[in-house]
Structure formats: C-alpha cells, structure tokens
Symmetry: C2
Subunit: 468 residues, 2 copies
C-alpha cells in the first residue's frame, strides 16, 4: 500500500464516506436534533472501529464524546492526542443556502454542507490519515489517542467533567487540535493561540403582553428602546468597551512576542471575500491585532417586536439580545461577564426589568510556544505538503475546551487545520475543498511520522522559516 497516494487512490470511496458523515444534522444547540447528533456519533464509532483502533463512546448528560486509541501502548513512543468535534452550527437563514445544508453536493471541487469544514471536514481527513496509517501495516511511530466531541458548538458544557473523570486515559505528550485555518492555501501556518469566550443572553421586559404602539406609545418604556440604549452604552465612539474593568485583566504582549506573529492584513482581499471593511476594531490597533490580541464584545443577536414582512405597530412585551466576548490572556470569562451584567443592570431604565444569563461553555484564551517540538514538527509537515515555508499566526475564534484538555492531558498544544476565510463556517453555503481533504490527510500523516521520529529531540533548524 502506497501511503503517500492513499487518498487519491481511494478518493471516490472516501468522498462517499465523507458525504455520509455530512448528512447527519448534528446541530448540538437544537434539542430537535438530539437523535441526529447521537446517530452521527454512532457512525463515527463504527468508522473508527474499522480502522483498527479501540473505540469507546463516553456518555455525558448532553451529547456523547467518541474516544479511540491504539490497541497497544509502547512507552518508548510519544503519545499524540488529536481533538476534533462532530457537532455543527444551526443552519438558519435556511433560505440563503443554494443546496440543502445536510444534502452535501460537490461543485467545482468544493463540497457544500453544514460542517463541510467546521469540523467534519477537518475531522474526516484525520480519520482517513489514521485509517491509512493503521491499514499500511507499518507500526505507528507513536501511541495514538483521538477525542471527538459532540458539544463544541455549544461550548462543551459537559466535557470538563468528562475530562476530569477520564484524566488517566487522556495523558499525552502532544495534542493536535485540528479545528483551525490558514489565510490562503499559499500561506501554510501553525496557529499559536486562540481567544477565550463567554456568551450571554439578555431579556428586557416592559409589560406582560405586546402592546399597540399607538395607544401605548409615549406611556410605556418600549423594551426595544431600552435594548438599543443599553447595548449602545457598551462601546464608546472609539470602539473601546465601556464597561468599567473590562480591560483590567488583559495581558499586553511584548514587542518581541508581537514580532513573531504575521499580522499582515490585506483590505482588498478581505473586501473581495466579504464585501466588508475593517472598521470594527478599537482605534489604535490593526485589524488582526484587534482580532487576535484584543478582547471584543459582540452583539450576536437582537430581537424584539415585529421584523417580518410588512409592518406591525407593536410595542413588544420583551426584547432580547445575545452577547459574546472574545477574551485574551489573562481574562477570566465569568469575571468579565459579571462586569457586563452589573453594568447593564446599573443602566437599565425605570419600567424595564432586566434578566441576564451567562451560558455554559466559557473558556479562557490559549497560547502555544513557537519552540515546542510538535509545533515545529507540524510546521515542517505543512512546509513539505504545501511546498511553501510555514509561518505562525493567531486566531480570533475560540475552542473553549482546549485549555482544559491541555491541562488534563499535560500535552503540548498545536493548533492546526486547513480552514480558509471564505469557507462560510457558521453561515449559509459552508464548504470545503477536496484538495484540502487530501492536503490535510498528508499533513496529519507527515506530522505523526515527524513527531514519532523526533521524540525528545529538538527539530529546530528543520527548514521552517520563522517570521522575523
């Protein structure tokens, strides 16, 4: 068996399998999809069993986690733990999809479906790499462990407890988190950190029912007005969060640390992709500085009254908002959310009742060292597969469970993946390329081989170019 060509030799069958994986509507945030999530989990268990790994389904009060590991353990080899998730985001607005979110189609080399990239696509090339390595007959140079969770998109509410209970099973030397991206296929990069996250819901109530805006307009305090007034107070005119204490725990990076990171931002490419301008950050910071090393407070949803077709002259009983903060070292998620809650309660106008809720699934920010052996091995794998020197970036998004998993496993973390900025993750028409499935496959195979062959040694000087 030719390991290098395994993907291309078996592409038709592998794509069939990938489509099956994508057809499960494993939306973890929507209770109606509970059995779809479970069925997707069962598919994974079956798929992994077929690779020759020992597979377990770990139950939680929510959706189950899949755990798999090599059938034998060799203490002379390093242990690599790989993290993925099989749950996906909701699909609305459904009307903007060109094809069904759970009816995957291949168009011009790209597969379109919810989860095609985030994270089923990235999970699937890991699966194919493991399958190929296991079936190649050659003894793996590492001990392999795999954890694939079903609640990432809702902030992994049950995984921390599970990790504590199964801590002994999760010990590893290196942890590959294959849920990240790069800026372009021509710019391979290892991600040295992600931001933390905390999410909240706010409900403002002005009356016990919707009221006619003619008869009651000028009498009651419209919850929509209270909502916009309160939310507008959260940021000042320079894009800085106006909540007292919000920045107190922010650890500033040194000039040397900043110099290691590729902050280059191309507004033209960005506009071409998204028809958007980089006007959303704090004054005094570049777009990627704002997205990577500064915290945010975003309004992810507002809803109140009638916003459908036509017009309804209503003063709604309630108005709601969903907020999230992206956090940087050393911000504490709960502390940050509590500051915001106190600020909103303090400014809530008379006649309006405010209710706030911090959602589960909070997570701190994470940073890796550029000198770590697995970071270096993966950078070399990228360089060889893409045939372009690998660089180092950061990511503004969050994988809340990773700091926890890193702590429990004791492993060095490498954040990696083949996501691209225009994959439409969390949006209609999400897609992932067949070419990237193959590159991902090769990068995982190569990384595991390199890590296995360099245990205890430093692979610096491997040809990887560090910025600056």
């Amino acid at each position: 068996m030719n390991l290098e060509n395994y993907f291309s030799d078996n592409q038709a069958q592998l794509l069939e399998e990938f489509m099956s994986f994508l057809r499960f509507p494993s939306v973890s945030s929507e209770p109606k999809h509970h059995s779809d999530v479970t069925n997707c989990c069962e598919w994974l268990v079956s798929y992994l069993a077929d690779t020759g790994l020992k597979v377990e389904r770990w139950e939680t009060p929510g959706h189950p986690t899949v755990f798999a590991e090599s059938k034998t353990y060799d203490p002379s080899k390093p242990t690599v733990l790989i993290y993925n998730h099989y749950d996906v985001q909701p699909v609305d607005p459904l009307e903007l999809w060109d094809s069904g979110p759970f009816a995957p189609v291949l168009r011009d080399g790209e597969i379109y479906a919810r989860g095609a990239q985030d994270n089923k696509g990235q999970c699937f090339y890991v699966l194919t790499a493991i399958k190929a390595l296991c079936k190649s007959g050659v003894s793996l140079p590492i001990n392999l462990k795999l954890i694939i969770e079903g609640e990432e998109e809702i902030g992994s509410p049950n995984l921390p407890q599970l990790l504590k209970e199964r801590a002994d099973r999760l010990k590893a030397d290196h942890l590959l988190v294959v849920d990240l991206g790069i800026h372009a296929l021509s710019k391979p990069a290892v991600t040295l950190g992600v931001r933390g996250i905390v999410t909240m819901s706010i409900t403002l109530t002005g009356s016990n029912r919707d009221l006619h805006s003619g008869s009651h307009g000028g009498v009651v305090y419209n919850p929509n007005h209270a909502l916009v007034e309160l939310l507008a107070k959260l940021r000042d005119s320079k894009g800085r969060i106006a909540v007292p204490g919000f920045y107190d725990q922010v650890a500033e990076l040194s000039a040397a640390e900043l110099a290691r990171i590729g902050f280059d931002f191309d507004p033209e490419t960005y506009y071409h992709l998204f028809a958007a301008q980089p006007t959303g950050g704090e004054q005094g910071f570049t777009p990627f500085q704002s997205a990577w090393v500064r915290p945010t407070l975003e309004i992810n949803g507002v809803s109140g009254g009638y916003a459908g077709e036509g017009f309804k002259t209503v003063i709604p009983a309630k108005a709601t908002a969903k907020l999230s903060c992206r956090l940087v070292p050393d911000q504490d998620p709960i502390k940050t959310a509590s500051l915001i809650t106190a600020f909103l309660e303090q400014h809530c106008p008379p006649g309006i009742a405010i209710q706030t809720e911090i959602h589960p699934g909070v997570g701190r920010a994470l940073r890796s060292q550029v000198s770590g052996p697995a970071v270096q091995a993966v950078a070399r794998a990228y360089t060889e597969v893409v045939k372009t020197p690998c660089s180092f970036i950061l990511e503004g998004a969050s994988i809340p469970i990773i700091p926890e998993l890193s702590h429990i496993s004791g492993a060095e973390v490498v954040l990696m993946g083949y996501g691209l900025p225009d994959d439409n993750i969390h949006a209609p028409n999400e897609h992932f390329g067949v070419d990237r499935l193959e590159m991902g496959f090769k990068t995982i195979v190569k990384s595991l081989q390199l890590i296995g062959n360099t245990k205890g040694s430093d692979i610096k000087g491997s040809g990887v170019t560090l910025r600056n």
Copy 2:
C-alpha cells in the same frame, strides 16, 4: 319586531355569524393570506346584501373595499357614512395564543380570535344594527352609507386613490368611525382625535454574508452594533426625540383645549392590566398627554443575527429595524420620516451601508369639534346605553385614512367604539365581549336615530356632561 331586544332575541344566531366572520385569516400584511382576505370580503358582501342594502365590491390594486348604501336616497334626511375595516394584524408570536387565532372560542363571555375587537367585532355590531334597522320595517331616519376596507392594518395604501375616484358616492353629513375604544365600560367616551402615523424600515449591511464572530470580531463593524448605536441616538435621556426639526411642526394645544379632555391616568389600573409602568414618555408630560398630544418615535421591531434557542457566534451580514412615528397636528408624515432618514444616514458608521424605506399608508393626525351635532348625538347614545354620562378623550393610535375620508365625504367625523385597554389588539389572545357586541349594537341604533331626528338642529343640552 322589537328593535331594542333584537340582539338578545337573536344572540345565538348572531354569534354564529360573528364566528364565521372571525374564521377568515384576513391578514392584509401577509401575501400568503391574499385569498383569505378576498374570501372575507365576499362574506361581507353577501351578509350586507341580506340586510337589504345595495352592496358593491370596489376593487383596488390590493385588497377590495366593500361599499353599501340605502337603496333609496331621501334628500330631506341627513346622510351618515360608517367606516370599518375587515382586515386584521398578523398573529405572531403564535405560541402565546391559548387558542387558534382563527378558531374563535367563547370563554367567560369573551370571544377570543384575531380581529375579535380590531375591527371585526366593532364592524359586526354595526352590521347587526343595520340589519335590525333594515328588517324592522320602519323607514330609516337617515340615508346610510357604509365603507369597510381591507387594508387598514397596512395603512390603507390603495384607499386614497379609490376615495378620489368614488368621491361622488361618498358625500355625507356625518362620518362614524367605529374603530375606537373607551378606558372602561363604566367610562363611555367619544374620542375627539387620533394621532397620525408614518412607518419605516431600516436595513444596515456590513458584509455579504454572516461572519464568524471569533475570526472576524474586531475586524468588521457588526451591523447589530451599528443598529443599536444609531437607534439609541434617536432619543435623548429625557425621552425627547433627538432628530433635529422633529418638533418644529407640532401645534401646541391651548389650556382651554387641554381642559376639555379627560387626561386622568390611573397607574395602578394600568399596572394591573399590563404589568407596565408609565415611564416611556417625555419628561414634563403626563402619560396620556404623551400618548395623545405629543408625537412619538417607536422602535416596533429589531432583528439581527441569531436570537433563537441556544447561541450562535455570528456577526450577521445585516441588521434591520422597523420604526414608526405617531404624529400630532400639524406634523407632515413624509417630512417627519425624511428628517429621521437624514439623521440616520448622517450618523451611520463607516463600513456600514444603510438603506431606509418609508412604507405607504402614512396619515396625518385628526381632531373633531366637541360641539359637532353627530359628536353630541353619539355622546347621548353612549350616555343612554351605558347609563353613565359620556366624556371626551383622545386616542394615541392612528386611522390614517380618516382625514382623507373626512375631506372627501365633507362629513363631520365622530370617532367611537367599545374597545377596552385589555382587549389585546395587535397581540396574542385578542378578545371582545358579547356584552359589548350588544352595547355597540344599541349605541349604533340609537346614534343613527338621534342623528336622523336632529338634522340641522343643535342637540346640546341633551344631558351629556362635558368635562369642565
């Protein structure tokens, strides 16, 4: 036939007929209900033909208007035109209805359905009064005309043109607009004015697709942030609209005019009904002053991003809002909306595109004279039916077409009805009482008789108590 007891003698059959009227989902704002609106219109045409009136269906580019009149015209009698509408508001949030909005049920003397009060209930007692008068065999003391439109809840976009075309058919001495309410069954009142209205939609666009709030948070300007910032700027901390020029056309009432109106507001009753406090108006004005003689700018709807169950870490491509202004004499609707549009465009942040739309169906405010003969006749009818002295109030809601209809018909306008504050119009569980159907029936019969018997004379001193 006993006219006085006609309603109670035929109650079972009349309620059956009313239920049939309510079962039509005649939601004028939703294209999917187009044929339901038309079917409702046909039911009315058939019902009115049965009373003995000459009935016509007047087509418009939208929903048809029903017109009916006495088969003979007697120039020695005054002509009374009655206005109602048969279209209704949308029903969402549907989950808050205790029974289907178009499956009317009678519970504890109240009929629950969309339109039970606004305006099918008030229309129906007019129909029963006309039916009884026509079937009584006694010659009517008036020439009767009836206009029932199908687009009131969307601001009567096509009626102005229709009124112009049919102006000669609509000439009348008095116009009864039976779409109003009173504060309590123990407080009968003629309404001396309604506010005008103009409604708008605003759409803010930041990108060509929804974006991940982790990767893009801090880069793009979140349209939800732009929305709350822009909308918050519309009002100052004292509840005053901050749009320059907004109050320039407001005609202040004299102390003598204000003294004629019953502005009494009982916060305890209001709280009991709506669990709401009167904190929404401008500083320096009482609740009913704010609702009746001051203009408002209300946010009737906001929508952007994900506000459903769970959480979605999205920066939406667009955020939208629906705004309405209630206007007082002598504010011009389009001028007012244009001021708001200019203000919003001026303050729109960089990176956000703004699109505004003024909806059709604008209308100026209307005021009647307390000394008008039909105002006095209706006040006396109220006093006799309710057995309580009738007073005079204003109303904050709007019936945009009435100033137009008043002008075309040349008639004295009387705003009347039996709506109550807790009827839940424009909201879930709308209802209307069987007792009020009967009182409405009697009030219409009595009013038409009094107007018919007092042509050209002044019926002041009829026992009606004027406030102050």
